[in-house]
Point group: C2
Chain length 731, copies 2
Amino acid sequence: MTSALWTVTEETFNPKAQHHSETIFTSGNGYLESRGAFEEGYPGERRTTFLHGVFDDIPISFTELVNAPDWLELHLFLNGEFFRMDRGEILHYRRTLDLRTGRVNRTVRWRSPQGRITRLEFERFASLADEHVMVLRVHITPEDYSGTLEVRAGWNGDVDNLNYKHWEWLAQEATPEMCALHVRTQATKIELGAASRLSLASGVLAEKTAWDVHNHPTQVVKTTLEQGKTLTVEKTAVYFTSRDVKNPYQAAQEKLLGLPVPAWDALWEPHARAWEEDWQACDVEIEGDDEAQIAVRFSLFQLLAAAPRHDERVSIGAKTLSGYGYRGHVFWDTEIFMLPFFTYTRPQIARNLLSYRYHNLEGARKKARDGGYQGAQFPWESAATGEEVTPTWVPHYADRTKVIRIWTGDIEIHISSMVCFGIWQYWKATGDEPFLLERGAQIFFEVARFWASRAEWNETTGKYEFNDVIGPDEYHDHVDNNAFTNAFARWTLEKAVWLMDYLRQNHPQAAEAYTKNLGLTDEELHRWQEVARRIDYAVDPQTGLVEQFKGYFQRRDVNLQAMEPRTESVQVIFGIEGTNETQVLKQPDVLMLAYLLPELFDKKSLQVNYDYYTPRTDHTYGSSLGPSIQAIMACRVGKQEDAYEHFIRAARADLRDVRGNAGDGIHGASAGGVWQAVVFGFGGLQFHNGKWTVTPHLPHHWKRLVFRFTYRGKSYVIDLPNKGPFSSEEA
Amino acid sequence: MTSALWTVTEETFNPKAQHHSETIFTSGNGYLESRGAFEEGYPGERRTTFLHGVFDDIPISFTELVNAPDWLELHLFLNGEFFRMDRGEILHYRRTLDLRTGRVNRTVRWRSPQGRITRLEFERFASLADEHVMVLRVHITPEDYSGTLEVRAGWNGDVDNLNYKHWEWLAQEATPEMCALHVRTQATKIELGAASRLSLASGVLAEKTAWDVHNHPTQVVKTTLEQGKTLTVEKTAVYFTSRDVKNPYQAAQEKLLGLPVPAWDALWEPHARAWEEDWQACDVEIEGDDEAQIAVRFSLFQLLAAAPRHDERVSIGAKTLSGYGYRGHVFWDTEIFMLPFFTYTRPQIARNLLSYRYHNLEGARKKARDGGYQGAQFPWESAATGEEVTPTWVPHYADRTKVIRIWTGDIEIHISSMVCFGIWQYWKATGDEPFLLERGAQIFFEVARFWASRAEWNETTGKYEFNDVIGPDEYHDHVDNNAFTNAFARWTLEKAVWLMDYLRQNHPQAAEAYTKNLGLTDEELHRWQEVARRIDYAVDPQTGLVEQFKGYFQRRDVNLQAMEPRTESVQVIFGIEGTNETQVLKQPDVLMLAYLLPELFDKKSLQVNYDYYTPRTDHTYGSSLGPSIQAIMACRVGKQEDAYEHFIRAARADLRDVRGNAGDGIHGASAGGVWQAVVFGFGGLQFHNGKWTVTPHLPHHWKRLVFRFTYRGKSYVIDLPNKGPFSSEEA
């Protein structure tokens, strides 16, 4: 294994791609993530540190992750000159993200406005072994001068979220030895305590002072630089919030005082070891395709860096903790796209993510109630409480006098079953019976109750219908009987009935408790069965073609190939209404169903649906959720080359910014889908009746694929050499 | 004249009324205004300093005045304890606003958490003689201890507008002698340079340092306090923006360096003299009614403090520069309610305010064009460019998932004629022929053109109509042929035709230039006459009753008296739609027309309309624009007692917060209306054919009324002793 295949590298800094770079160089430890902003700041930056669960109210989107006072801030004055990349001249620049450990390094050779040349190497990490602790340092080498060095660092409580401020000041401390800040979110009243310390290598003479400026306590260290000699400055930082402890301000200071000075070396080893453990369970090795190798590891790194290790009341948002996109809200992206990776490699994390839904059941009950339904309906967008936080009206992107109605929070209802699917998959993979008994079954029963109350009986057809919905394909809204939604309503009702039966046989006490606490009568269970049996789900009996929703085939057919090459989504080209009238899909909808519930499709039917829907899907600019699933389905119908095209599109989503929006944060679902495409698609891993099978469909140019998974408590390493054929070029 | 009648006083500080108090103790100099926030800060405060013309983009309301880095910030550490009113104990408190000079004083006797007692007196003013300069000082007397004093003050670039940040950092300077900050608004790129200096009385030994914290440069002065001795600390501050000079950062520092140390005494005298000059031209004296006396002076002070002395590209917003209400936007409140005070006392300021509209004609042309009309249509809400900035959709006040459509920006169209009316009144009062020739006529012609293009011909009635509008009474929207709107469309068209005739006779060159530059043909002038002649304007031939709009009399009649006492507006009680269906008015609409165009109403008609509309008006919680006009009309129909009731309601709008929203800022229109009620109502001042007459209608308990005005270059003092009768109580 070469280190290059573990490294994301940037050789030049392009201010125009600044936000994209910040996303790529995001790093974190499952408690927090920080975007790859520069320690000294840069004009136009979107520097953020998001901590899991720290949400506060905002207009329009209701709630958002709050940008924390910034642990990265460090200002250097080299012989009196403020080091910033937008001043002077950059003679050399290189930034790397080490995927093995999440360490971000930046080397800059800088000629100051006054002409002095300095070599600077910054490095940082947030400890995976002790999630409240972060450390950064900079190695400073004056090449052609000796002079003074002044370092300033502390905490700024006036940080904002895209200009919007969430924090109010409570207290602060600034001494020559440390800085601390105590702030609180305005509406949700979450307190944050932050503490930090600047230090130099022992033996270096320095003058230390403190600037106790209101809401911006700052430590200042002054020393001298000697030409050609490297001096190292370290900043150690600690966060605690009132989500963690009662007195986060005190906890942060105590934790800081207990750390060695300097702290880097002592913190590094357990941190690196923790990452090593993760990678031993998760790594995927690809030989013969360096781009894919790095992209896959980058995807897994971003998932791991965002994954809550010690907190079961948070989940991973659609953009992880890495950007403002979707304001930190959690979608089905988690359960369907990201969760399988954790379920099959780090099941404890999967359990945390699913427990988040359990703890937020009250919000889901409220949503069902507000809509006039029973049971629990999970919100399309979820944050701290499980209440629906999808924005309803947003400003028009082009005309500030207009607003656009967002319907997903009202009618994209398959999400509730997706939570159940995640539970089912987790339980099947881990056999975690306590989780099923205490939490999983509760969710299943309450969601089944929702579906039964949402079903509409059609007297004419003798079917139960789910009308006025949005399926996974969001190019079509307000549709009736979306096949995906209806099939999953049926699946959930059936599984809920089965589960009660299973509990009665194997855990009679639990069955009794649920019966009693939920008032679950046999009559209700019977009704669930009845609704499930009669749900409207249409398959062409001749061909096996599934109509995505009622009337889909009557919509206008569009030859997407004739529109290539495009640089915009079909929705932008045709407009929202215009696209709705065509058969063009934002993402595979029926094929997604075939992926998740393969038992509904025989081989012929799978092929027929693949052939029909694939050319009608906006693969390039539709949903970023599509390509990885499309890749898997291509493998299943034996189209490896198509599969690779879709896979690499997903793999490039962030690294190459193929959709132009990576600046808003990591595409978490795409990252999770990449893992599934490799393991379930190319690797062909499948589970059936408690057994697994591997049926590889490797891309021709891959020489070898190695992946790891855990199943029912046992860990496996699958090593798949590709038997070829290889062309001479690839040899 | 006793000083008490020039002073607004607060004897206790009530944190629950904090925002109201901040509004009341707003002071300024026509370049800026600062709310009455405390130097040391207070939780929940809305501390703002707004500078005229410094707008930046925001969501929903498009643009807003930007809260500037705060010149008031001053932190005192008394023997190490941070002085704040929410800590320790307040033994005595008193705050005053001196209306003669705008000086704000605050005396606090404070027992610190550790039990030490200190007497503090703060005072501040923004110079009216040199509008870029502000100064504050604090006199500190330790009563029962000797100890250390540490003073910290500088500039914080991270200020916000209700949490929203507008400024980006450009540069800063912090030395033991001064602090400076250079920032720029994010979207509009307006630069602000700020500089400040802390100083003690000469001879006091002090240690001065600077804390150069990023975006928060701070000066620190340390000295000792001696028991029983008073020490004075002064902060002198300077603002310049790129609206004033090319390099505001440099200008601010240079100006500061040129000021004496300490500066208070040297700055005070010219400042006080400038105010003295204003008051000599403007003051209103009322004997026998101290509340009215203070309220009137308070109103005039707030108008004068907000009035641009040296800038003709800004105007006074509905809430002056004193709060976030309406985001600093300018309405017809200026031309109809505030302008007359300036026109008749400080005509140069009136000229500035009207010139603002002239300079923003391009925005008005754009608005007409965007609506499919010709000429110039002034925006309902106006800011830096004259483009329409009324929000179109705002979040629902009670349900965050809903939005409300605001229609005023689309269809409340009388504003364009209100600008013309202000010009006409100004020209008639001042005889400022150059203004008419260069600017006023231009506006008249372009607005007339708008009206002619907006008029709809009704074949059936043979009338020109203005349909789908909102008149001054905003409880009724989407109405047809609002009498006020139609009468003013006619007035404007007629006056435009008359003006062209006047120019041709008296200023043929100007007439020719307009004809050429605007392409104004005789045919078009003829059409204006035709439209004016046939505009639908209905008066009952029998009674003289004017129907407010077509179909108004068919709306449901409501007995408002039966609903008293209310604590909410009728619109809140009945809902927006419900109120629309009644005859209840937010503010007098037909009576406003009778006030502005008295020639349309004979004595009988005036009485009939007064009697009809008065009981149908929501005087208490409707528009704050109503009561002053209602007071004047009550005088005109001889109902002095009613007049006083309406007048005092207007006079209390801010001082007593009768509508509960004074925290959002001064009701500028009400303040201007108060002056009109006194001078045009009780004083009975009227102008006709170049002559003025005074027909007093003094409230019975007033012993004397003195007011001043300027007409055609001459100044008059009207001294009206009330001949009684007085009751024994009042004697």
